[in-house]
Symmetry: C2
C-alpha cells in the first residue's frame, strides 16, 4: 500500500472501477496487501464502500480476503491463463468459421488492416506505447467476433479477459516479441480473407500457443507473482 493519492471518489462503483484498473494495470502488484482502512482514508469514504468493492473483486478472483488477517491482491494463476487462452482460441476459431461460412467480407479487410497498422505504429520506435499496442491487439480480435455477430459475447467474456490482461501487462514489458505477434495477425487476416477456415484455425492455434509458451515459461520463474503448483489460495 503506497501512493495513496487524494482523489475525491464518491460512489462505490467508482471505487470498484478504480481498484479494478489499478490491479489490472499492476499499480497494485500480485500479492500486495490492500488495507480497507487506508483505502477508505484515501477515497475519503466509509469502509462500506471499500468493502463492497472488495466483495466484488473477491468474486472476480482478483482479491483474496483472509478474515481478520488481511486482504491481498490475488496471485496470477497460470493454469487459469492457459484456460482463458484456450477459450479465446476456441471462440475466435468459431468466429472465423462463422465469418467465412455466413457472410461476405464487407469492410472486414479495412478494419483488420487498420488494427494491424495501429499495432505497428504503437510498437515501433523507442517511444513505443505498449498500452496502445494492447488496445489495438484487443481490437483485432474483437473485430473477428463482431463480424461473426458476437460482439456481445466479447463483452460477456470481459471478466475473464481481465485476468489475461493483467498477466499480459506483467509478461510483455518490452516490444521485443511484438513483431512476431503482428506477423501472426497478418497471417490470420490473410487466411480469413482467403476464406480458408482450416488454415485460419491452424494459425490461431499457433498464435495462442505462442502466448501459452510464454505462460509456461513463467511457470518456472521463482518470483512471488504466480501460484505454485495447484496450491492456489493456500496462503498460510
Amino acid at each position: 500500500m503506497n501512493r495513496l493519492q487524494e482523489t475525491t471518489m464518491i460512489t462505490g462503483e467508482e471505487i470498484y472501477r478504480d481498484l479494478l484498473k489499478k490491479i489490472t494495470e499492476l499499480e497494485y502488484m500480485p500479492g500486495d496487501a490492500l488495507s480497507e482502512n487506508e483505502l477508505c482514508a484515501a477515497y475519503k469514504c466509509s469502509r462500506h464502500m471499500v468493502r463492497d468493492a472488495f466483495s466484488r473483486l473477491k468474486e472476480k478472483g482478483l482479491l483474496e480476503v483472509y478474515p481478520h488477517r488481511g486482504s491481498y491482491v490475488s496471485l496470477i494463476d497460470l493454469k487459469q491463463i492457459e484456460d482463458i487462452l484456450f477459450l479465446r482460441e476456441a471462440v475466435e476459431t468459431a468466429a472465423v468459421s462463422a465469418i467465412i461460412r455466413e457472410t461476405d467480407p464487407g469492410d472486414l479487410p479495412e478494419l483488420l488492416a487498420g488494427a494491424i497498422e495501429e499495432q505497428k505504429t504503437a510498437s515501433a520506435g523507442a517511444e513505443a506505447d505498449l498500452p496502445a499496442y494492447f488496445r489495438a491487439d484487443d481490437r483485432f480480435h474483437g473485430i473477428l467476433l463482431e463480424k461473426a455477430g458476437r460482439a456481445s459475447l466479447y463483452r460477456l467474456l470481459e471478466d475473464e479477459y481481465i485476468h489475461l490482461r493483467r498477466w499480459r501487462n506483467l509478461e510483455i514489458r518490452t516490444t521485443r516479441r511484438i513483431p512476431a505477434l503482428i506477423q501472426e495477425h497478418e497471417s490470420i487476416r490473410d487466411a480469413v480473407l482467403h476464406r480458408d477456415a482450416a488454415e485460419a484455425s491452424v494459425l490461431l492455434h499457433r498464435h495462442f500457443d505462442t502466448l501459452k509458451f510464454a505462460a509456461s515459461v513463467d511457470e518456472g520463474r521463482d518470483n512471488s507473482y504466480f501460484y505454485k503448483n495447484q496450491t492456489e489460495g493456500e496462503r498460510k
Copy 2:
C-alpha cells in the same frame, strides 16, 4: 416476494448462495421484486448481508437495482443465451478436437456411456426427474472438457452457464424433447470415439442449434420473462 421461510442463515456467503440458487431454479421468477427488508427479516440478519449479496448478484447480471425504487430479478436476455450457446459450442468443439488429437480414449467411453445412461433413466417414465437429467447433461459436456485437460475452464465458465441453466429451467419443463437431445449426445459420443473431429464438430453445431432454435422461439413469446429487442435494462 413470498414463501419466506424461517431459515437460520448466518454468513453473507450463504445468503448469496441461497439467492443465487433460488433465482437460477426459478423460485424467484424473472422480473420478481426482491425487497432488502423482507429478505433480511427472513434470514434474520441485517440489511448489509443482503445488500452485499445483491451487489454480487447485480455484478453477475442476475439482479437489477433501481436506486430508491426497488430491486428486481433480471429478465432473461435471449441474445445473451445465444451467445453462451455459441461459446459452449466453440469450447466443446475445441475440446473434442484436443481429445482426438492428443490422447487415447482411456475411460472416455465408459464415462460418456454412464452420463447418457443416467440421462435416459432420469428422463424416462412419468416420474421423470428433470433436475437429475440436467445434471447428467452437464456431466456429459463436462466430461469432454475434463478429458481435454480443461476441467478448470469448465469451472471458470460457471458464471456464464448460470444464465443458461436459468433459461433451461424455464424453457424445458417437460421431457417431450429430451429424447432427441439424448440421441444427439449419442451421435456426438460415437463421432468422438471414432476420432472423427469433423463429424463431431458438425454434430455439436447441430446440437447447439437445436437449443438456439428454442431460444429463438422464446423471442416471439409475449410474456414478461424476456427482454424485448435490445432494450435490456430500460425498466421505466
